[in-house]
């Protein structure tokens, strides 16, 4: 997860404190079938935390087959699904237990834990979707950051974001 957070010093300090091998985010996924109609189903668990002002995030991705949608259904905790398109649209949807978001195709997406407990989602997407992580790292991160704002969260523009490739 090096390079994911803006405040690299705070990230390094957190890793030094916790140890580099402590998991802060894990995915259990299951592929029950091969072929075009198959789904991958699993759970994603993102521990709470902050690196500087930024809440704990997953790496984030666009699907390698970009039109593939993905369902996230919140099982526990409190999080935000941060969504951006290559042409500059942005959305942030708060998820609490029982709420779900269907991430449409062509949207870069990342989970953010804005609560005090593990943020756990059930996810489901086409097994042929794949993940493109470089679209975020090559752009200096996502366009927006989810940062602490009193007891809540807000979006701020990421000054390191250099723009996505045009779709």
């Amino acid at each position: 997860m090096s390079g994911v957070y803006r405040d690299d010093a705070a990230w390094r300090a957190a890793v030094a404190e916790r140890g580099a091998d402590e998991l802060v985010y894990w995915v259990d996924d299951h592929r029950y079938q091969e072929g075009p109609g198959a789904l991958i189903v699993g759970t994603s668990t993102l521990l709470p935390g902050r690196i500087g002002d930024e809440f704990a995030v997953t790496r984030g991705h666009l699907h390698a087959v970009a039109d593939r949608a993905e369902l996230y259904h919140c099982l526990s905790g409190r999080g935000v699904m941060l969504l951006e398109t290559l042409d500059g649209q942005s959305a942030a949807i708060e998820l609490t237990p029982g709420k779900a978001v269907n991430v449409p195709g062509h949207w870069i997406h990342r989970s953010v834990n804005v609560g005090d407990e593990p943020f756990v989602t059930l996810f489901c997407y086409a097994a042929d979707a794949g993940q493109d992580y470089a679209v975020i790292s090559d752009a200096g991160g996502m366009q927006n950051l989810v940062v602490a704002d009193g007891d809540g969260w807000t979006l701020t523009a990421n000054p390191d974001h250099t723009g996505y490739p045009r779709p």
Copy 2:
């Protein structure tokens, strides 16, 4: 739902008692996107009940694009996902809140409410999957029935089942 239950007299009596316009099963589904990567996400609510020995069921289907898988995640109630293949395989998976089943492609599937409360599932499948209901009605119903057995449920062979077309 006429013809879905074996005991047609009990079905007609139940309809007469409740009125033909009382909903016993409904689906709220959402299609957020068109195109090959889209998902349909929604909830299915099946009220409890019995028609003769048979527990309340959904109509059941094979996907028209048969290889399309489908996720069902139980939100409330107690149900069974009854699964069969054209070549004679059969499975029945009990679902309680928090449990999920990934129905692989090529499996006919039907929800059964074996509890006393509405059986509610969150479902998710490829938007191009479609539904083939005739595969069940043309075969005289599914191969197995989910029937009451003391306080629980069991499977019995459906004597009206005339066989599925070979795959």
